[in-house]
């Protein structure tokens, strides 16, 4: 690109950078306009003061009125420039308007400079030195070529004035004693001054513009670097966000859609797509797309036999095509051309054991993608691969779960049904609905009933345990459970059994005030509380006490079931939550028991993100403590 009048070369080609540079350049233009105007007030006042003071103070004969006129003119055009600049600023005028304004100022200044030199003695004038200021200022603000052009203009102005005075085309105005020693008509003097003036201003122009150019380059580099940094940080952020977004769900479609959208946005590109290998392992089917036309997606699956690009990508290569429409690697290059997708990068999505598919980015420019883009896309693809694999695994688990749920249902019916019918049949007999039976017969039937009841309990416990181990086995958690209500129901449910055993059952709500809402299901919590409270009642002798305590802190709720029963031997504590384990003293109290109750409690609590702990002293009592996260902390 060509140099702009103000010397900022457009060496950057990245689009975001252009956006960064524009405001900078504009700001500098506006501020330099302002600066010129401010300096000019001083210059004008300097000329006016000089006009009236220099003559009398130095007792020089000089045409004060001319200087005064020049001072006024400078003041006048500066006022006009001031208002123009203000209007431009208010109207947010274009860059070129400001550019023109700066050039106009320079032209007017140099014209006044010429007049000032002429009226202060032409070639003899000490004001000539002031030209150096102008040259320095011009070289600071303008590009090298314009600076030299202006410097040469200055040389022309001075040469013009001295030659015109020498050839008497315009009158020479002598200042002070110099009228007695007229140097303006001395060719050698004129030649010497012009040569030294020219070389001075040219060298200064060269030095200043060289330094300025170097500074500008640095500045551009800084702008460039900071733009790159911004871009990198935006990409890192995008990568981070996409990681979060895709890992926050296990729904495959959601993962795929977020992945393509985030990638397209982070790379500021037109489109992005994901194709996954289907079951044949030969065809790539489009599964998610962002910014692609429906027609393009419906062009058909990509067949690896005809698609060398994706064959290579699935082997692990990242492939950057600068012009896809003419690439022989594509199965459908004519489609890419028709849709205007020219640059295309494809990165492999590779799972732990096998390739999954291809993540592709598209733009409508040729040669668009850099090696940074390749790295970025493969980073996203690597991240996406594990998310996709997780989602796929989750899909499999979900279908396994469905099978399991169906199995459990069949199991429930098939196993429970005969057991419960047998029990009912025996019960009918024992209750005498079919006629009198002898005491011995009744005793035998009742023994049968007790054994069947145990079998029934075992089946129920196994089902509970299975339910606790299934992610959604305890039902869908929707709005959480209010523990106060649940604990109260448990308390009421066990009042009768406790009374029968002459045990004092107490419920203490230490979580007051407020309600304790936990992330759980009523079924699951019921199962936990029923097991713990019934255990406590079972293993606490007559006259004992069972206390249900509800507590709450910032993050979790706690249900404690405390008794002063038989306690648990130290050596049993570690085995307590093992399936089918029963402590020896528990067996002594009650011969029959499945040994599954505490496993159920533990598994169910774990399914709500909770924990179970136990403290016990043999012969003194036991406290079970279940903690479950509050709903608000989820």
């Amino acid at each position: 690109m060509a140099d702009s009048p103000l010397g900022f070369s457009d060496t950057h080609n990245a689009i975001p950078l252009q956006k960064q540079v524009e405001p900078l350049r504009e700001a500098e233009l506006i501020s330099s306009t302002d600066w010129f105007i401010r300096i000019r007030w001083l210059a004008a006042i300097g000329i006016l003061v000089g006009a009236f003071l220099v003559g009398p103070v130095l007792q020089l004969e000089m045409p004060a009125s001319y200087f005064a006129w020049i001072g006024f003119v400078v003041l006048l055009y500066n006022i006009i420039l001031y208002y123009i600049a203000r209007r431009y600023r208010q109207a947010s005028a274009s860059l070129s308007s400001f550019s023109r304004l700066v050039i106009t100022q320079i032209a007017l200044d140099w014209l006044s400079m010429g007049l000032l030199i002429h009226y202060s003695g032409g070639i003899e004038s000490p004001v000539i030195f002031f030209f150096v200021f102008h040259v320095v200022i011009a070289a600071t603000f303008f590009s090298r070529s314009i600076s030299f052009a202006l410097t040469i203009l200055a040389i022309f102005i001075l040469t013009g004035i001295s030659l015109a005075e020498y050839f008497k085309i315009i009158p020479h105005i002598a200042v002070g004693h110099l009228k007695d020693f007229p140097l303006y008509s001395d060719p050698l003097y004129i030649f010497a001054v012009l040569v030294f003036f020219s070389s001075t201003v040219l060298v200064i122009t060269f030095l200043v513009s060289t330094i300025t150019e170097r500074l500008r380059r640095r500045e551009a580099e800084v702008v460039n670097l900071s733009a790159n940094l911004l871009q990198s940080s935006a990409r890192l952020q995008a990568l981070n966000e996409s990681a979060r977004a895709i890992n926050s769900t296990l729904e495959l479609n959601e993962v795929l859609n977020r992945l393509v959208k985030n990638t397209a946005e982070a790379m500021s590109i037109r489109a992005c797509s994901i194709r996954l290998l289907d079951k044949t392992g030969k065809l790539l089917q489009p599964v998610a797309a962002y910014g692609l036309s429906q027609a393009y997606l419906e062009k058909g699956p990509l067949d690896l036999d005809n698609d060398p690009l994706d064959r290579k990508v699935l082997e692990g290569e990242v492939i950057n095509l600068s012009d896809a429409s003419s690439s022989s690697l594509l199965q459908y290059p004519e489609w890419a051309a028709q849709e205007g997708y020219f640059s295309m990068i494809s990165a492999p999505l590779i799972g732990k054991n096998k390739p999954l598919g291809v993540l592709r980015a598209y733009t409508n420019k040729k040669d668009h993608f850099s090696s940074d883009d390749e790295l970025f896309l493969s980073a996203i693809a690597a991240q996406g691969s594990s998310a996709i694999e997780n989602a796929l695994a989750f899909q499999t688990i979900e279908s396994l779960d469905a099978t399991k749920a169906a199995y459990i249902r069949v199991f429930t019916h098939e196993l429970r049904s005969p057991v419960s019918v047998t029990r009912s049949l025996l019960q009918t007999l024992s209750d005498g609905y079919v006629g009198e039976i002898t005491d011995q017969q009744k005793d035998i039937v009742d023994r049968g009933i007790r054994r069947i009841e145990f079998l029934q309990k075992l089946i129920d416990d196994l089902l509970d345990l299975a339910a606790g181990k299934t992610p959604d086995g305890t039902g869908e958690v929707t709005e959480g459970v209010v523990l106060e209500e649940l604990v109260d129901q448990v308390y009421k449910r066990f009042q009768v059994p406790a009374e029968e055993k002459k045990i004092e059952l107490i419920c203490q709500d230490e979580a007051e005030p407020g309600v304790t809402r936990v992330w759980a299901t009523v079924e699951g919590l019921d199962r936990i509380c029923n097991n713990l409270v019934s255990n406590s009642i079972k293993y606490t002798p007559e006259g004992g006490q069972v206390i249900i305590i509800l507590r709450r802190d910032q993050k979790e709720a706690c249900i404690c079931v405390k008794d002063n029963g038989i306690g648990i031997p130290k050596e049993s504590i570690n085995h307590l939550f093992e399936e089918f384990y029963r402590a020896p003293n528990a067996k002594a109290v009650q011969r029959e028991g499945t040994g599954l109750g505490l496993s159920i409690v533990k598994e169910t609590a774990a399914s709500f993100g909770g924990k179970v702990s136990v403290e016990s002293e043999l012969g003194k009592g036991t406290t079970f403590k279940v903690t479950i996260p509050l709903l608000s902390s989820n």
Partner: protein, 133 residues
């Protein structure tokens, strides 16, 4: 006063026996049907005062379908005269499995669920209360 008539629909003859014996012992007249189809026919013939229904018969939802047919609010229903006949549903589904049924769900127009194994006393109490005795 003639005894109240109870229709028992269950595909398990043993289960029918365990329900039938106590009901007869306390003086109800009990009729049996072994599947939904027979059940629907029997309803019209027997005109029962109460129905005891098994939740799963020919298929997992046969019992529900039967209950829906009988309790349909549609005034043109074939069984409109049984719209208010109480139904006690027996279920082997364990309450804590994800498939939890409860009568407040609109599509399960039954009065109550009793979980197997059936406690004879509970069954007799419920029958008594739904018959308004």
């Amino acid at each position: 006063m003639s005894p109240k008539r109870i229709l028992l629909v269950d595909d398990d003859p043993d289960q029918r026996l365990t329900v039938r014996l106590p009901l007869e012992a306390v003086g109800y007249e009990v009729f049996e049907a072994s599947n939904s189809e027979e059940g629907l026919k029997a309803v019209k013939q027997v005109k029962p005062d109460l129905i005891v229904l098994d939740v799963m018969m020919d298929s997992a939802t046969a019992g529900f379908q039967l209950a829906l047919d009988l309790h349909s609010p549609d005034p043109n229903s074939e069984y409109i005269e049984f719209k208010d006949t109480p139904i006690i549903m027996l279920t082997a589904i364990h309450s804590t499995t994800p498939l939890r049924f409860s009568p407040d769900e609109f599509y399960l127009p039954v009065e109550i669920f009793l979980e197997k194994p059936i406690e004879t006393k509970v069954l007799l109490d419920k029958v008594k209360s739904y018959l308004g005795e």
